[in-house]
Symmetry: C2
Subunit: 308 residues, 2 copies
Protein backbone atom coordinates (compact mmCIF):
# COMPACT_ATOMS: atom_id res chain seq x y z
CA UNK A 1 0.00 0.00 0.00
CA UNK A 2 1.39 3.40 -1.03
CA UNK A 3 0.23 5.27 2.05
CA UNK A 4 1.03 8.73 0.69
CA UNK A 5 -1.16 8.10 -2.33
CA UNK A 6 -3.87 6.64 -0.08
CA UNK A 7 -3.89 9.68 2.19
CA UNK A 8 -3.83 12.04 -0.77
CA UNK A 9 -6.74 10.33 -2.51
CA UNK A 10 -8.80 10.23 0.66
CA UNK A 11 -7.96 13.86 1.40
CA UNK A 12 -9.26 14.86 -2.02
CA UNK A 13 -12.73 13.56 -1.18
CA UNK A 14 -12.66 15.72 1.94
CA UNK A 15 -11.37 18.74 0.01
CA UNK A 16 -14.18 18.57 -2.47
CA UNK A 17 -16.91 17.98 0.14
CA UNK A 18 -15.88 20.71 2.61
CA UNK A 19 -16.81 23.76 0.45
CA UNK A 20 -20.21 22.20 -0.28
CA UNK A 21 -20.98 21.90 3.41
CA UNK A 22 -19.84 25.43 4.13
CA UNK A 23 -21.83 26.86 1.21
CA UNK A 24 -24.88 25.18 2.71
CA UNK A 25 -24.27 27.06 5.95
CA UNK A 26 -23.35 30.38 4.51
CA UNK A 27 -26.39 32.39 5.63
CA UNK A 28 -26.72 35.87 4.27
CA UNK A 29 -23.42 37.29 5.44
CA UNK A 30 -20.96 36.88 2.56
CA UNK A 31 -17.89 38.12 4.48
CA UNK A 32 -18.49 35.60 7.25
CA UNK A 33 -18.94 32.82 4.71
CA UNK A 34 -15.66 33.83 3.04
CA UNK A 35 -13.81 33.96 6.35
CA UNK A 36 -15.05 30.43 7.11
CA UNK A 37 -14.15 29.04 3.70
CA UNK A 38 -10.70 30.64 3.58
CA UNK A 39 -8.92 28.56 6.26
CA UNK A 40 -10.69 25.39 5.11
CA UNK A 41 -9.34 25.92 1.59
CA UNK A 42 -5.74 26.09 2.81
CA UNK A 43 -5.44 22.34 2.31
CA UNK A 44 -3.32 20.44 4.79
CA UNK A 45 -3.03 16.70 5.07
CA UNK A 46 -6.62 16.13 6.26
CA UNK A 47 -5.15 13.52 8.56
CA UNK A 48 -8.07 13.55 11.00
CA UNK A 49 -10.87 12.95 8.47
CA UNK A 50 -8.76 10.31 6.70
CA UNK A 51 -8.24 8.52 10.04
CA UNK A 52 -11.96 8.73 10.80
CA UNK A 53 -12.85 7.11 7.48
CA UNK A 54 -10.26 4.33 7.85
CA UNK A 55 -11.35 3.51 11.41
CA UNK A 56 -14.98 3.37 10.26
CA UNK A 57 -14.09 1.03 7.38
CA UNK A 58 -12.58 -1.57 9.70
CA UNK A 59 -16.14 -2.48 10.69
CA UNK A 60 -17.47 -3.00 7.19
CA UNK A 61 -18.70 0.37 5.89
CA UNK A 62 -17.24 2.68 3.27
CA UNK A 63 -15.54 5.96 4.22
CA UNK A 64 -17.95 7.81 1.93
CA UNK A 65 -20.79 6.88 4.33
CA UNK A 66 -19.35 9.13 7.00
CA UNK A 67 -17.91 11.96 4.91
CA UNK A 68 -20.07 14.60 6.70
CA UNK A 69 -18.67 13.46 10.05
CA UNK A 70 -15.12 13.55 8.64
CA UNK A 71 -15.70 17.11 7.38
CA UNK A 72 -17.19 18.13 10.73
CA UNK A 73 -14.02 16.97 12.48
CA UNK A 74 -11.86 18.92 10.03
CA UNK A 75 -13.99 22.01 10.72
CA UNK A 76 -13.26 21.69 14.44
CA UNK A 77 -9.55 21.26 13.73
CA UNK A 78 -9.63 24.31 11.43
CA UNK A 79 -11.43 26.49 14.00
CA UNK A 80 -8.71 25.60 16.51
CA UNK A 81 -6.00 26.78 14.10
CA UNK A 82 -7.84 30.03 13.34
CA UNK A 83 -8.18 30.86 17.04
CA UNK A 84 -4.62 29.71 17.86
CA UNK A 85 -3.23 32.15 15.32
CA UNK A 86 -5.04 35.18 16.80
CA UNK A 87 -2.94 38.08 18.13
CA UNK A 88 -4.03 37.34 21.73
CA UNK A 89 -2.92 33.71 21.30
CA UNK A 90 0.14 32.61 19.26
CA UNK A 91 0.01 35.73 17.07
CA UNK A 92 0.98 34.00 13.82
CA UNK A 93 0.82 35.80 10.48
CA UNK A 94 1.36 32.78 8.29
CA UNK A 95 -0.28 29.34 8.14
CA UNK A 96 0.33 26.79 5.40
CA UNK A 97 2.12 29.45 3.39
CA UNK A 98 -0.78 31.91 3.38
CA UNK A 99 -1.69 34.86 5.59
CA UNK A 100 -3.72 33.70 8.58
CA UNK A 101 -7.49 34.28 8.65
CA UNK A 102 -7.38 37.29 10.98
CA UNK A 103 -4.66 38.88 8.81
CA UNK A 104 -7.00 38.74 5.82
CA UNK A 105 -10.40 39.37 7.43
CA UNK A 106 -9.50 41.22 10.63
CA UNK A 107 -9.47 40.01 14.18
CA UNK A 108 -13.23 40.23 14.85
CA UNK A 109 -14.12 38.13 11.85
CA UNK A 110 -11.27 35.75 12.69
CA UNK A 111 -12.88 35.10 16.06
CA UNK A 112 -16.36 34.76 14.54
CA UNK A 113 -15.28 32.50 11.68
CA UNK A 114 -13.69 30.18 14.25
CA UNK A 115 -16.82 30.27 16.40
CA UNK A 116 -18.99 29.43 13.38
CA UNK A 117 -16.72 26.60 12.16
CA UNK A 118 -16.86 25.05 15.63
CA UNK A 119 -20.62 25.43 16.03
CA UNK A 120 -21.49 24.31 12.52
CA UNK A 121 -19.27 21.27 12.77
CA UNK A 122 -22.14 20.00 14.92
CA UNK A 123 -24.71 21.21 12.40
CA UNK A 124 -22.94 19.29 9.62
CA UNK A 125 -22.41 16.22 11.79
CA UNK A 126 -26.00 16.08 13.06
CA UNK A 127 -28.01 17.37 10.07
CA UNK A 128 -26.50 15.22 7.33
CA UNK A 129 -27.96 12.06 5.88
CA UNK A 130 -26.18 8.77 6.51
CA UNK A 131 -26.86 5.27 5.22
CA UNK A 132 -28.88 2.96 7.48
CA UNK A 133 -25.63 1.32 8.61
CA UNK A 134 -25.00 4.44 10.73
CA UNK A 135 -27.44 4.21 13.63
CA UNK A 136 -28.79 7.28 15.52
CA UNK A 137 -27.08 6.06 18.70
CA UNK A 138 -23.75 5.87 16.83
CA UNK A 139 -24.21 9.38 15.51
CA UNK A 140 -25.02 10.74 18.98
CA UNK A 141 -21.97 8.93 20.37
CA UNK A 142 -19.77 10.47 17.67
CA UNK A 143 -21.07 13.96 18.54
CA UNK A 144 -20.35 13.28 22.22
CA UNK A 145 -16.80 12.22 21.40
CA UNK A 146 -16.22 15.30 19.27
CA UNK A 147 -17.50 17.70 21.95
CA UNK A 148 -15.67 16.13 24.87
CA UNK A 149 -12.32 15.69 23.02
CA UNK A 150 -12.47 19.28 21.75
CA UNK A 151 -13.70 20.91 24.99
CA UNK A 152 -12.32 21.88 28.37
CA UNK A 153 -11.22 18.35 29.26
CA UNK A 154 -9.56 18.05 25.86
CA UNK A 155 -8.14 20.33 23.22
CA UNK A 156 -8.96 23.66 24.88
CA UNK A 157 -7.19 22.70 28.12
CA UNK A 158 -4.10 21.82 26.06
CA UNK A 159 -4.18 25.20 24.38
CA UNK A 160 -4.63 26.97 27.74
CA UNK A 161 -1.68 25.07 29.24
CA UNK A 162 0.40 25.84 26.14
CA UNK A 163 -0.19 29.57 26.59
CA UNK A 164 0.73 29.27 30.25
CA UNK A 165 4.00 27.57 29.27
CA UNK A 166 5.08 30.36 26.92
CA UNK A 167 8.58 31.56 27.74
CA UNK A 168 9.14 28.50 29.98
CA UNK A 169 12.63 28.06 28.56
CA UNK A 170 13.73 31.67 28.81
CA UNK A 171 16.79 31.46 31.04
CA UNK A 172 17.90 28.08 29.71
CA UNK A 173 17.38 24.39 30.44
CA UNK A 174 18.49 23.00 33.82
CA UNK A 175 17.89 19.34 34.75
CA UNK A 176 15.07 20.35 37.11
CA UNK A 177 13.43 22.54 34.49
CA UNK A 178 13.80 19.76 31.92
CA UNK A 179 11.98 17.31 34.20
CA UNK A 180 9.20 19.80 34.96
CA UNK A 181 9.07 20.79 31.30
CA UNK A 182 8.68 17.22 30.05
CA UNK A 183 5.78 16.68 32.43
CA UNK A 184 4.04 19.87 31.35
CA UNK A 185 4.72 19.12 27.70
CA UNK A 186 3.22 15.65 27.93
CA UNK A 187 0.02 17.26 29.20
CA UNK A 188 -0.01 19.95 26.51
CA UNK A 189 0.61 17.55 23.62
CA UNK A 190 -1.87 15.00 24.89
CA UNK A 191 -4.66 17.54 24.94
CA UNK A 192 -3.74 20.15 22.36
CA UNK A 193 -2.95 17.67 19.59
CA UNK A 194 -3.56 14.04 20.49
CA UNK A 195 -7.13 14.50 21.75
CA UNK A 196 -8.51 15.50 18.36
CA UNK A 197 -6.56 12.76 16.55
CA UNK A 198 -7.93 10.33 19.12
CA UNK A 199 -11.39 11.72 18.40
CA UNK A 200 -10.90 10.84 14.72
CA UNK A 201 -10.57 7.09 15.26
CA UNK A 202 -13.07 7.12 18.12
CA UNK A 203 -15.68 8.84 15.94
CA UNK A 204 -15.08 6.33 13.15
CA UNK A 205 -15.56 3.47 15.61
CA UNK A 206 -18.62 5.10 17.21
CA UNK A 207 -20.32 5.70 13.85
CA UNK A 208 -19.72 2.06 12.95
CA UNK A 209 -21.18 0.90 16.25
CA UNK A 210 -17.89 -0.88 17.07
CA UNK A 211 -17.65 -3.07 20.19
CA UNK A 212 -16.39 -1.28 23.31
CA UNK A 213 -13.11 -3.28 23.30
CA UNK A 214 -12.28 -2.21 19.75
CA UNK A 215 -13.30 1.38 20.47
CA UNK A 216 -10.81 1.42 23.35
CA UNK A 217 -8.00 -0.15 21.33
CA UNK A 218 -8.48 2.40 18.56
CA UNK A 219 -8.62 5.16 21.14
CA UNK A 220 -5.20 4.14 22.51
CA UNK A 221 -3.85 3.87 18.97
CA UNK A 222 -5.13 7.41 18.27
CA UNK A 223 -3.50 8.81 21.39
CA UNK A 224 -0.14 7.27 20.52
CA UNK A 225 -0.05 8.50 16.94
CA UNK A 226 -1.44 11.87 18.04
CA UNK A 227 1.49 12.29 20.41
CA UNK A 228 3.89 11.00 17.74
CA UNK A 229 2.47 13.56 15.31
CA UNK A 230 3.16 16.39 17.72
CA UNK A 231 6.70 15.27 18.57
CA UNK A 232 7.39 15.10 14.82
CA UNK A 233 5.97 18.62 14.58
CA UNK A 234 8.34 19.83 17.29
CA UNK A 235 11.26 18.37 15.34
CA UNK A 236 10.09 19.93 12.08
CA UNK A 237 9.82 23.33 13.74
CA UNK A 238 13.60 23.11 14.28
CA UNK A 239 14.93 21.20 11.26
CA UNK A 240 12.06 21.45 8.77
CA UNK A 241 12.05 23.32 5.49
CA UNK A 242 10.10 26.50 6.34
CA UNK A 243 8.83 26.68 2.78
CA UNK A 244 7.47 23.13 2.84
CA UNK A 245 5.92 23.71 6.27
CA UNK A 246 4.43 27.05 5.24
CA UNK A 247 4.79 28.54 8.69
CA UNK A 248 7.18 30.81 10.43
CA UNK A 249 8.61 28.75 13.29
CA UNK A 250 7.03 30.73 16.10
CA UNK A 251 7.97 28.07 18.70
CA UNK A 252 11.61 29.13 18.87
CA UNK A 253 10.66 32.81 18.74
CA UNK A 254 8.32 32.38 21.72
CA UNK A 255 10.85 30.25 23.71
CA UNK A 256 8.20 27.57 23.80
CA UNK A 257 8.46 24.17 25.35
CA UNK A 258 8.95 21.50 22.68
CA UNK A 259 10.41 17.99 22.79
CA UNK A 260 13.17 19.23 20.50
CA UNK A 261 14.14 22.03 22.89
CA UNK A 262 14.09 19.69 25.91
CA UNK A 263 15.62 16.50 24.48
CA UNK A 264 17.43 17.75 21.42
CA UNK A 265 16.44 16.67 17.92
CA UNK A 266 17.85 13.14 18.34
CA UNK A 267 16.09 12.62 21.67
CA UNK A 268 12.82 13.81 20.17
CA UNK A 269 13.24 11.49 17.15
CA UNK A 270 13.71 8.55 19.51
CA UNK A 271 10.57 9.54 21.42
CA UNK A 272 8.52 9.80 18.20
CA UNK A 273 9.68 6.37 17.05
CA UNK A 274 8.82 4.80 20.41
CA UNK A 275 5.30 6.20 20.18
CA UNK A 276 4.83 4.90 16.65
CA UNK A 277 6.07 1.44 17.70
CA UNK A 278 3.73 1.44 20.67
CA UNK A 279 0.78 2.38 18.47
CA UNK A 280 1.05 -0.45 15.95
CA UNK A 281 0.30 -3.47 18.19
CA UNK A 282 -2.87 -1.75 19.43
CA UNK A 283 -4.45 -2.59 16.09
CA UNK A 284 -3.72 -6.32 16.34
CA UNK A 285 -6.64 -7.10 18.64
CA UNK A 286 -9.22 -5.12 16.67
CA UNK A 287 -11.48 -7.50 14.73
CA UNK A 288 -12.38 -6.30 11.27
CA UNK A 289 -11.23 -5.69 7.71
CA UNK A 290 -7.48 -6.05 7.10
CA UNK A 291 -7.19 -3.30 4.46
CA UNK A 292 -8.31 -0.40 6.66
CA UNK A 293 -6.20 -1.74 9.53
CA UNK A 294 -3.16 -1.75 7.23
CA UNK A 295 -4.05 1.80 6.21
CA UNK A 296 -4.08 2.91 9.86
CA UNK A 297 -0.71 1.25 10.42
CA UNK A 298 0.61 2.98 7.30
CA UNK A 299 -0.65 6.32 8.57
CA UNK A 300 1.16 5.75 11.88
CA UNK A 301 4.47 5.37 10.00
CA UNK A 302 3.57 8.26 7.72
CA UNK A 303 2.99 10.48 10.75
CA UNK A 304 6.38 9.50 12.13
CA UNK A 305 8.27 10.07 8.87
CA UNK A 306 6.48 13.16 7.58
CA UNK A 307 8.52 16.16 6.43
CA UNK A 308 5.71 18.74 6.42
Amino acid sequence: MDIEKYVKRRAEAVNSALPRFVRGLAGADPRLAEAMAYPLAAGGKRLRPVLLGAAYEIFGGKAGDVLPAACALEMVHTYSLVHDDLPAMDDDDLRRGRPTTHKVYGEALGILAGDALLTDAFTVLLSSRYPARVKPAGLAAAARVLASRAGARGMVSGQAADLGAEGFLRGGVTPARRRKGLELLAYIHLHKTADLITAAVEMGAALAGAPEKDFKALSSFGRDIGLCFQVADDILDVVGDKKKLGKSGSDARNAKLTFASLLGVDGARCKAEALMRRALPRLAGVRGAAGPKAALAGIAEFVYRRDN
Copy 2:
Protein backbone atom coordinates in the same frame (compact mmCIF):
# COMPACT_ATOMS: atom_id res chain seq x y z
CA MET B 1 -49.48 33.47 37.95
CA ASP B 2 -46.75 35.79 39.30
CA ILE B 3 -44.43 35.50 36.34
CA GLU B 4 -41.48 37.24 37.98
CA LYS B 5 -41.57 34.74 40.83
CA TYR B 6 -41.95 31.89 38.33
CA VAL B 7 -38.93 32.99 36.29
CA LYS B 8 -36.89 33.57 39.43
CA ARG B 9 -37.68 30.15 40.88
CA ARG B 10 -36.94 28.40 37.60
CA ALA B 11 -33.73 30.41 37.18
CA GLU B 12 -32.55 29.23 40.60
CA ALA B 13 -32.62 25.61 39.48
CA VAL B 14 -30.42 26.57 36.54
CA ASN B 15 -28.10 28.61 38.75
CA SER B 16 -27.49 25.70 41.07
CA ALA B 17 -27.04 23.13 38.28
CA LEU B 18 -24.63 25.13 36.09
CA PRO B 19 -21.60 25.06 38.41
CA ARG B 20 -22.01 21.29 38.83
CA PHE B 21 -21.85 20.74 35.09
CA VAL B 22 -18.83 22.99 34.71
CA ARG B 23 -17.02 21.33 37.62
CA GLY B 24 -17.55 18.03 35.83
CA LEU B 25 -15.78 19.43 32.79
CA ALA B 26 -13.00 21.22 34.52
CA GLY B 27 -10.09 19.10 33.34
CA ALA B 28 -6.75 19.75 34.95
CA ASP B 29 -6.40 23.43 34.08
CA PRO B 30 -7.70 25.39 37.06
CA ARG B 31 -7.41 28.83 35.40
CA LEU B 32 -9.46 27.68 32.42
CA ALA B 33 -12.10 26.19 34.72
CA GLU B 34 -12.26 29.47 36.63
CA ALA B 35 -12.56 31.52 33.45
CA MET B 36 -15.47 29.31 32.35
CA ALA B 37 -17.26 29.46 35.72
CA TYR B 38 -16.84 33.22 36.13
CA PRO B 39 -19.23 34.46 33.40
CA LEU B 40 -21.73 31.69 34.21
CA ALA B 41 -21.85 32.87 37.81
CA ALA B 42 -22.79 36.43 36.81
CA GLY B 43 -26.45 35.49 37.03
CA GLY B 44 -28.77 37.10 34.55
CA LYS B 45 -32.40 36.23 34.00
CA ARG B 46 -31.73 32.72 32.59
CA LEU B 47 -34.54 33.47 30.19
CA ARG B 48 -33.46 30.89 27.60
CA PRO B 49 -33.27 27.88 29.94
CA VAL B 50 -36.54 28.91 31.59
CA LEU B 51 -38.22 29.08 28.18
CA LEU B 52 -36.80 25.69 27.24
CA GLY B 53 -38.23 24.09 30.36
CA ALA B 54 -41.66 25.71 29.93
CA ALA B 55 -41.90 24.68 26.26
CA TYR B 56 -40.94 21.10 27.21
CA GLU B 57 -43.59 21.00 29.96
CA ILE B 58 -46.42 21.78 27.53
CA PHE B 59 -46.08 18.20 26.29
CA GLY B 60 -46.35 16.53 29.67
CA GLY B 61 -42.83 16.32 31.13
CA LYS B 62 -41.24 18.22 34.00
CA ALA B 63 -38.63 20.94 33.38
CA GLY B 64 -36.23 19.07 35.67
CA ASP B 65 -36.09 16.27 33.08
CA VAL B 66 -34.26 18.54 30.65
CA LEU B 67 -32.15 20.62 33.03
CA PRO B 68 -28.88 19.55 31.33
CA ALA B 69 -30.22 20.78 27.97
CA ALA B 70 -31.34 24.05 29.57
CA CYS B 71 -27.87 24.52 31.07
CA ALA B 72 -26.24 23.68 27.73
CA LEU B 73 -28.26 26.44 26.07
CA GLU B 74 -27.23 28.92 28.76
CA MET B 75 -23.58 27.92 28.19
CA VAL B 76 -23.92 28.79 24.49
CA HIS B 77 -25.54 32.12 25.38
CA THR B 78 -22.76 32.82 27.88
CA TYR B 79 -19.98 32.00 25.40
CA SER B 80 -21.55 34.49 22.98
CA LEU B 81 -21.43 37.25 25.61
CA VAL B 82 -17.81 36.47 26.52
CA HIS B 83 -16.70 36.67 22.87
CA ASP B 84 -18.88 39.74 22.16
CA ASP B 85 -17.16 41.65 24.94
CA LEU B 86 -13.63 40.98 23.60
CA PRO B 87 -11.51 43.99 22.61
CA ALA B 88 -11.66 42.99 18.91
CA MET B 89 -15.47 42.85 19.12
CA ASP B 90 -17.59 45.27 21.25
CA ASP B 91 -14.72 45.96 23.65
CA ASP B 92 -16.83 46.10 26.80
CA ASP B 93 -15.26 46.26 30.27
CA LEU B 94 -18.42 45.65 32.25
CA ARG B 95 -21.16 43.02 32.04
CA ARG B 96 -23.92 42.60 34.60
CA GLY B 97 -22.08 44.99 36.88
CA ARG B 98 -18.83 43.00 36.94
CA PRO B 99 -15.62 43.23 34.92
CA THR B 100 -15.91 41.15 31.73
CA THR B 101 -14.15 37.79 31.52
CA HIS B 102 -11.21 38.99 29.44
CA LYS B 103 -10.69 41.92 31.85
CA VAL B 104 -10.23 39.44 34.69
CA TYR B 105 -8.47 36.53 32.96
CA GLY B 106 -6.83 38.20 29.96
CA GLU B 107 -7.79 38.12 26.32
CA ALA B 108 -6.36 34.68 25.49
CA LEU B 109 -8.23 32.95 28.28
CA GLY B 110 -11.34 34.96 27.40
CA ILE B 111 -11.26 33.48 23.92
CA LEU B 112 -10.54 29.98 25.22
CA ALA B 113 -13.19 30.08 27.96
CA GLY B 114 -15.74 31.04 25.30
CA ASP B 115 -14.55 28.25 23.02
CA ALA B 116 -14.83 25.73 25.84
CA LEU B 117 -18.29 26.89 26.96
CA LEU B 118 -19.53 26.54 23.39
CA THR B 119 -17.95 23.13 22.82
CA ASP B 120 -18.92 21.69 26.18
CA ALA B 121 -22.49 22.85 25.82
CA PHE B 122 -22.67 19.89 23.43
CA THR B 123 -20.83 17.66 25.91
CA VAL B 124 -23.37 18.51 28.62
CA LEU B 125 -26.32 18.21 26.25
CA LEU B 126 -25.25 14.88 24.78
CA SER B 127 -23.56 13.15 27.75
CA SER B 128 -26.21 13.69 30.41
CA ARG B 129 -28.83 11.20 31.53
CA TYR B 130 -32.48 11.91 30.76
CA PRO B 131 -35.65 10.07 31.76
CA ALA B 132 -37.06 7.62 29.20
CA ARG B 133 -39.58 10.24 28.13
CA VAL B 134 -36.71 11.99 26.28
CA LYS B 135 -35.99 9.81 23.25
CA PRO B 136 -32.56 9.64 21.53
CA ALA B 137 -34.08 11.13 18.35
CA GLY B 138 -35.42 14.08 20.37
CA LEU B 139 -32.03 14.64 21.93
CA ALA B 140 -30.30 14.57 18.55
CA ALA B 141 -32.91 17.00 17.19
CA ALA B 142 -32.30 19.35 20.11
CA ALA B 143 -28.54 19.27 19.43
CA ARG B 144 -29.19 20.02 15.75
CA VAL B 145 -31.39 22.99 16.68
CA LEU B 146 -28.76 24.34 19.07
CA ALA B 147 -25.94 24.08 16.50
CA SER B 148 -27.85 25.55 13.58
CA ARG B 149 -29.45 28.44 15.56
CA ALA B 150 -26.07 29.32 17.09
CA GLY B 151 -23.96 28.92 13.93
CA ALA B 152 -23.29 30.79 10.68
CA ARG B 153 -26.92 30.78 9.61
CA GLY B 154 -27.93 32.00 13.05
CA MET B 155 -26.37 33.86 15.92
CA VAL B 156 -22.88 34.25 14.48
CA SER B 157 -24.15 35.87 11.28
CA GLY B 158 -26.08 38.36 13.42
CA GLN B 159 -22.96 39.22 15.35
CA ALA B 160 -20.96 39.60 12.11
CA ALA B 161 -23.61 41.91 10.62
CA ASP B 162 -23.71 43.88 13.87
CA LEU B 163 -19.97 44.52 13.67
CA GLY B 164 -20.35 45.58 10.06
CA ALA B 165 -23.06 48.07 11.09
CA GLU B 166 -20.90 49.79 13.70
CA GLY B 167 -20.83 53.55 13.15
CA PHE B 168 -23.76 53.28 10.71
CA LEU B 169 -25.37 56.34 12.29
CA ARG B 170 -22.29 58.54 12.37
CA GLY B 171 -23.34 61.52 10.26
CA GLY B 172 -26.98 61.43 11.40
CA VAL B 173 -30.26 59.80 10.37
CA THR B 174 -31.74 60.68 6.96
CA PRO B 175 -34.98 59.02 5.74
CA ALA B 176 -32.99 56.84 3.31
CA ARG B 177 -30.55 55.79 6.01
CA ARG B 178 -33.43 55.10 8.37
CA ARG B 179 -35.02 52.76 5.83
CA LYS B 180 -31.76 50.98 5.11
CA GLY B 181 -30.97 50.91 8.82
CA LEU B 182 -34.28 49.30 9.78
CA GLU B 183 -33.74 46.57 7.22
CA LEU B 184 -30.24 45.83 8.44
CA LEU B 185 -31.34 45.99 12.06
CA ALA B 186 -34.16 43.50 11.49
CA TYR B 187 -31.54 41.06 10.18
CA ILE B 188 -29.14 41.68 13.04
CA HIS B 189 -31.73 41.30 15.79
CA LEU B 190 -33.31 38.25 14.20
CA HIS B 191 -30.01 36.41 14.19
CA LYS B 192 -27.98 37.91 17.00
CA THR B 193 -30.72 37.66 19.62
CA ALA B 194 -33.92 36.02 18.42
CA ASP B 195 -32.27 32.88 17.02
CA LEU B 196 -31.07 31.62 20.39
CA ILE B 197 -34.38 32.49 22.09
CA THR B 198 -36.13 30.62 19.28
CA ALA B 199 -33.74 27.72 19.92
CA ALA B 200 -34.92 27.64 23.55
CA VAL B 201 -38.55 26.83 22.75
CA GLU B 202 -37.56 24.66 19.77
CA MET B 203 -35.23 22.58 21.93
CA GLY B 204 -37.96 22.17 24.55
CA ALA B 205 -40.38 20.99 21.87
CA ALA B 206 -37.76 18.72 20.23
CA LEU B 207 -36.84 17.06 23.53
CA ALA B 208 -40.52 16.41 24.20
CA GLY B 209 -40.98 14.91 20.73
CA ALA B 210 -43.66 17.54 19.96
CA PRO B 211 -45.64 17.29 16.70
CA GLU B 212 -44.19 19.28 13.78
CA LYS B 213 -47.12 21.74 13.83
CA ASP B 214 -46.56 22.62 17.49
CA PHE B 215 -42.81 22.83 17.00
CA LYS B 216 -43.41 25.42 14.26
CA ALA B 217 -45.90 27.43 16.30
CA LEU B 218 -43.48 27.57 19.22
CA SER B 219 -40.68 28.49 16.85
CA SER B 220 -42.66 31.52 15.60
CA PHE B 221 -43.53 32.46 19.16
CA GLY B 222 -39.83 32.29 20.05
CA ARG B 223 -38.86 34.50 17.12
CA ASP B 224 -41.40 37.15 18.07
CA ILE B 225 -40.47 37.34 21.72
CA GLY B 226 -36.78 37.18 20.80
CA LEU B 227 -37.18 40.27 18.62
CA CYS B 228 -39.32 41.92 21.32
CA PHE B 229 -36.57 41.20 23.86
CA GLN B 230 -33.98 42.93 21.71
CA VAL B 231 -36.13 45.99 20.96
CA ALA B 232 -36.71 46.31 24.71
CA ASP B 233 -32.93 46.05 25.14
CA ASP B 234 -32.42 48.88 22.67
CA ILE B 235 -34.82 51.04 24.65
CA LEU B 236 -33.15 50.20 27.95
CA ASP B 237 -29.75 51.14 26.54
CA VAL B 238 -31.15 54.69 26.18
CA VAL B 239 -33.54 55.10 29.12
CA GLY B 240 -32.54 52.29 31.47
CA ASP B 241 -30.94 52.62 34.86
CA LYS B 242 -27.25 51.84 34.18
CA LYS B 243 -26.89 50.45 37.67
CA LYS B 244 -29.80 48.05 37.25
CA LEU B 245 -28.56 47.03 33.82
CA GLY B 246 -24.98 46.59 35.02
CA LYS B 247 -23.50 47.61 31.69
CA SER B 248 -22.03 50.74 30.26
CA GLY B 249 -24.29 51.67 27.32
CA SER B 250 -21.75 50.96 24.59
CA ASP B 251 -24.42 51.23 21.86
CA ALA B 252 -24.56 55.02 21.95
CA ARG B 253 -20.76 55.25 22.31
CA ASN B 254 -20.30 53.13 19.19
CA ALA B 255 -23.01 55.00 17.19
CA LYS B 256 -24.68 51.63 16.74
CA LEU B 257 -27.91 50.94 14.97
CA THR B 258 -30.74 50.37 17.44
CA PHE B 259 -34.50 50.66 17.15
CA ALA B 260 -34.34 53.50 19.66
CA SER B 261 -31.88 55.46 17.56
CA LEU B 262 -33.91 54.89 14.37
CA LEU B 263 -37.49 55.23 15.62
CA GLY B 264 -37.06 57.13 18.85
CA VAL B 265 -37.95 55.59 22.21
CA ASP B 266 -41.72 55.85 21.60
CA GLY B 267 -41.47 54.28 18.16
CA ALA B 268 -39.38 51.44 19.57
CA ARG B 269 -41.89 50.88 22.42
CA CYS B 270 -44.67 50.59 19.87
CA LYS B 271 -42.62 48.06 17.90
CA ALA B 272 -41.93 45.97 21.00
CA GLU B 273 -45.59 45.91 21.95
CA ALA B 274 -46.62 44.84 18.45
CA LEU B 275 -44.17 41.92 18.61
CA MET B 276 -45.45 40.81 21.99
CA ARG B 277 -49.06 40.98 20.76
CA ARG B 278 -48.15 38.98 17.66
CA ALA B 279 -46.44 36.32 19.79
CA LEU B 280 -49.34 35.51 22.11
CA PRO B 281 -51.83 34.01 19.61
CA ARG B 282 -49.13 31.65 18.33
CA LEU B 283 -49.60 29.65 21.51
CA ALA B 284 -53.35 29.19 21.04
CA GLY B 285 -53.04 26.35 18.52
CA VAL B 286 -50.46 24.37 20.50
CA ARG B 287 -52.09 21.35 22.15
CA GLY B 288 -50.87 20.60 25.63
CA ALA B 289 -50.84 21.63 29.27
CA ALA B 290 -52.39 25.02 30.04
CA GLY B 291 -50.04 25.96 32.90
CA PRO B 292 -46.82 25.98 30.86
CA LYS B 293 -48.60 27.77 28.01
CA ALA B 294 -49.71 30.47 30.46
CA ALA B 295 -46.12 30.67 31.69
CA LEU B 296 -44.85 31.25 28.14
CA ALA B 297 -47.48 33.97 27.63
CA GLY B 298 -46.44 35.53 30.93
CA ILE B 299 -42.80 35.46 29.86
CA ALA B 300 -43.73 37.26 26.62
CA GLU B 301 -45.23 40.12 28.62
CA PHE B 302 -42.36 40.02 31.08
CA VAL B 303 -39.90 40.38 28.19
CA TYR B 304 -41.84 43.38 26.93
CA ARG B 305 -42.06 45.12 30.32
CA ARG B 306 -38.65 44.29 31.73
CA ASP B 307 -36.54 47.09 33.19
CA ASN B 308 -33.19 45.27 33.27
